[in-house]
């Protein structure tokens, strides 16, 4: 299925032609062994050439060769009328020829060395079946995930949002790969400025091959050196559809089973799409638990280092004996202990990601139980810290978006060093440094810390907390949408409140 045919023409300008003339192009094609040229139906017939790796042979046989074989040789214009295929093109334009042949069109010439060609799209594409989401799996909700084919992905979105306002602007990126990239948005909702920014940045991309959407993500974000991701990548079509109607934009790349979503706030990286599948009070609670988990995950081991290195007075007297008995025999200062343990956890994580799934689970068990308890028994680390670090690692897994969980993994190391230098005050200093970064950060021009700053009370309804759908009358303010209302009709107000037993 192909949408937006017209758009293809527009971007042919960006296609680079390296050959000087038609003959040179043809020669280049022919050097490759998968390029086929033959005459049909007889030695005097049309010259048909194509990349047999790109063309669907079945279509070629049934729709093209079958028509040709029964008829006398005609001019190409007449032939075009006979063949029952869509989107054919009769052209002598070098650019078009190169582009369409490389996309999987059959090239038909009337006779050898004729520059006028009939190009018949006859694409044979290898597609993966739509499967279940893996990194954003939810118990309830749709089980479809994006695949590598852009057309299938657009299909998934358009099925969910059957409105003419859903627009897709296609471009090509990468001087060699010429990858198709589509910017999706709902016209009349989204702020035009955001689209302009995104399109401008996509057009500015200069690179040879763009194989994955994460390349694009790194090239178009506002701050390219920030550890904090500014664009969410999602593999769920329902997620993309719902944020599109919120007034965000989506970016999809052919060959990548993920879509980028923006602009985002930092809070949106901690909200799982599953929060919307639950009743609002449960969803809110889980969201808050997740935020707490993140804070705990970042701060627990730095706090341990700070308190045990400088501020042991903070620990209540009843708790002190436990800590003393656990740390008494450890020969290292708390910072070394913490860095060793955190390092081990990072090692395990990295190993578990790189290994195939079945071996990976073994690593978890070996790492968690064997190495951990051995380290405690050997007296290298205290069991209190082991518990804290393990809990912190666990807490960091509650983050629903993969990119930000990497940030959280790394960000605790500066905190550890700051805690070693200045104790609790160091932790405050380090937080202030991070805050100074976050305050300056924008996501596609929107402030990253919204709704905390700029303080927008309205946007709290779906950030730290999630209020019921009836309260989500307006789209988020930070998106500066053209149509801020989500619910058009005012719900009928009940004038009389029901009293008991009425």
């Amino acid at each position: 299925m192909r949408f937006f045919k017209g758009k293809r023409e527009m971007d042919s300008a960006s296609f680079q032609v390296t050959s000087k003339d038609f003959q040179e192009l043809l020669k280049k094609f022919k050097t490759s062994d998968d390029f086929l040229t033959f005459q049909f139906p007889n030695d005097d017939g049309y010259i048909i050439s194509y990349f047999n790796s790109l063309v669907s042979v079945q279509q070629l046989h049934e729709q093209v060769l079958a028509v040709m074989s029964n008829q006398p040789k005609k001019v190409l214009k007449q032939l075009k009328g006979d063949i029952p295929m869509e989107d054919m093109k009769l052209t002598a334009d070098l650019k078009d020829i190169q582009r369409l042949v490389l996309e999987g069109s059959i090239m038909i010439q009337y006779k050898q060395d004729d520059e006028m060609c009939l190009l018949i799209p006859c694409v044979h594409s290898v597609k993966r079946q739509i499967s279940t989401p893996e990194s954003e799996y939810t118990v309830v909700g749709s089980k479809e995930a994006f695949v590598e084919s852009l057309d299938s992905n657009l299909n998934l979105i358009r099925n969910r949002l059957p409105t003419p306002e859903l627009q897709s602007k296609e471009f090509r990126v990468g001087s060699i790969s010429q990858t198709r990239i589509a910017v999706l948005y709902i016209d009349g909702v989204v702020n035009q400025q955001i689209i302009k920014t995104v399109i401008q940045r996509i057009e500015d991309i200069e690179y040879d091959t763009i194989v994955d959407i994460s390349f694009v993500s790194q090239m178009i974000t506002d701050n390219r050196n920030s550890m904090f991701p500014q664009l969410i990548d999602t593999e769920r079509p329902d997620h993309l559809a719902s944020v599109l109607s919120e007034g965000k934009i989506g970016i999809m790349l052919d060959g990548s089973p993920h879509a980028l979503v923006g602009p985002n706030t930092i809070i949106s990286f901690f909200s799982s799409f599953e929060d919307y599948f639950q009743i609002w009070n449960l969803g809110t609670s889980f969201r808050l638990i997740r935020l707490f988990a993140v804070l705990f995950s970042v701060l627990s081991s730095p706090l341990y280092v700070a308190v045990l290195t400088y501020h042991y007075q903070v620990i209540p007297t009843d708790l002190l004996p436990i800590l003393i008995s656990s740390r008494g025999v450890i020969p290292f200062p708390p910072i070394l202990e913490a860095i060793v343990l955190e390092g081990t956890i990072e090692l395990l994580r990295e190993a578990a990601v790189r290994l195939p799934a079945k071996v990976g689970s073994t690593i978890g068990i070996v790492g968690g139980i064997v190495i951990g308890s051995a380290a405690v028994e050997a007296g290298f680390v205290s069991n209190v810290l082991l518990m804290l670090v393990a809990l912190a690692a666990l807490a960091s897994f509650t983050v629903p978006i993969y990119q930000i969980s990497n940030t959280i993994r790394l960000i605790r190391f500066p905190f550890l060093i700051a805690a070693q230098l200045y104790g609790l005050f160091g932790i405050a200093l380090c937080s202030a440094f991070i805050l100074s970064h976050l305050l300056k950060l924008t996501s596609l021009g929107s402030p990253y810390l919204d709704p905390l700053y700029p303080l927008r009370i309205h946007d709290f309804k779906d950030s730290l907390i999630r209020l019921p759908f009836s309260k989500q009358k307006k789209r988020p303010q930070f998106l500066r949408t053209e149509n801020p209302l989500r619910i058009r009709k005012e719900a009928e107000k009940r004038n009389t409140r029901n009293d008991i037993d009425e």
């Binding site: 903070v314 620990i315 209540p316 104790g423 100074s436 300056k440």
Partner: protein
């Protein structure tokens, strides 16, 4: 050089509510009780209340100063309008020095708290350098970022005000009587001492052009200043009720000492946490002060604000090296309190009157 910040650099008038306490509440609140109570004893809270109200009157004057002329959107423009280029710039330079002075007090006093309560042997120079780098990072982001820091700092810091609940368990409210036992002069003396803690509202003279719909901001500014007053009054009431008068005379950091009695099952000696978190209350002040100084310097000398910023931070660093003991810091505090007092209570009203006269004269002319 006219003041016309880009609209994307402006803030909404509502945020002025946070900028007021953001600049006024700093390190002073950790230990202002002793100084005020020395003058007016159990009636100290009345002084705090009165000076808070006077501050609101002065704030009203500031808005009048800004709003009267067509082009007088900030202090530099007002000075130029009233005194011409040269005399006006002389006053501007005074104000630059004044803002730098405020920033120095804030940093140095906060570091003293850290030295006394947390790290007696800390390398002050290194710590100040780190803090100044932090200040640079915030100020470099522009006024919007500093405003954000004020708001988020207030969000992080304000839960500490709830700690006042703990000393209330041991409070003796009879300490507050007898009511109005001090003479008017004594109360006014205490008011004068209180000035330093309320300083910061006059920054509105610098950041006024950065507010969208400026006319609406006055309401929020007054509310913000009143909010500061409420915080100070509550703090001093709690301290007066908790400490005996003779005891209070010897407690240098009264509010800080109150944090010590916070009693939670998992934390003791809460002041360690409190002092650390207080960074988020102090640093916005410093950033605003440094920003105001560098902004005014830019408007006066015409250099890039970043250059001015670096210069000012170096000045602060060098001054902090000289303020190396309690005696000098105290003296510096007293002097700057005096300077602040005269600038706010004397210079601002005079400027206000002078502007009224000039405008009346001009009005007759045209």
């Amino acid at each position: 050089m006219e003041v016309k910040p880009n609209e994307t650099k402006q803030i909404s008038p509502f945020f002025v509510f946070f900028l007021m306490p953001g600049m006024q509440i700093g390190v002073g609140i950790l230990g202002f009780e002793r100084i005020i109570a020395k003058e007016s004893g159990q009636d100290a809270w009345i002084s705090v209340l009165i000076s808070g109200l006077i501050i609101n009157v002065l704030l009203w004057m500031c808005f009048k100063l800004l709003g009267r002329g067509p082009q007088t959107l900030d202090l530099v423009a007002i000075h130029k309008d009233l005194f011409g280029k040269w005399v006006g710039n002389a006053f501007n330079i005074l104000f630059i020095l004044y803002f730098i002075m405020i920033s120095i007090i804030l940093i140095r006093t906060y570091l003293e708290v850290i030295q006394v309560w947390m790290f007696p042997g800390v390398n002050v120079l290194m710590l100040i350098t780190i803090i100044l780098i932090l200040v640079y990072r915030f100020v470099e982001g522009g006024f919007r970022v500093i405003t954000g820091f004020c708001i988020i700092g207030l969000m992080i810091g304000s839960p500490l005000f709830l700690l006042n609940y703990f000393p209330l368990k041991y409070a003796h409210f009879e300490n507050l009587g007898p009511f109005l036992d001090h003479s008017f002069l004594e109360i006014m003396k205490a008011c004068k001492k209180m000035t330093l803690n309320y300083l910061g509202f006059e920054l509105i003279l610098i950041y006024y052009p950065f507010i969208k719909n400026r006319e609406k901001s006055q309401k929020w500014a007054h509310l913000g200043a009143l909010f500061t007053m409420v915080i100070y009054v509550v703090s001093i009431l709690v301290s007066l009720a908790y400490y005996h008068q003779d005891q209070l005379k010897d407690v240098i950091w009264a509010t800080l000492t109150l944090w010590k009695i916070v009693d939670l099952p998992f934390i003791e000696r809460f002041e360690y946490i409190g002092i650390s978190v207080w960074l988020f209350m102090v640093l916005p002040n410093v950033c605003l002060g440094v920003w105001a100084a560098s902004r005014t310097a830019k408007r006066v000398f015409g250099y890039r604000q970043k250059k001015m910023l670096v210069l000012i931070l170096i000045i602060i660093l060098v001054s902090c090296i000289f303020l190396d003991n309690r005696y000098r810091i105290d003296k510096f505090n007293t002097i700057s309190s005096q300077i602040g007092f005269y600038i706010v209570y004397l210079y601002l009203p005079l400027l206000f009157i002078w502007q009224s006269i000039v405008y009346k004269f001009r009005g007759h002319k045209s």
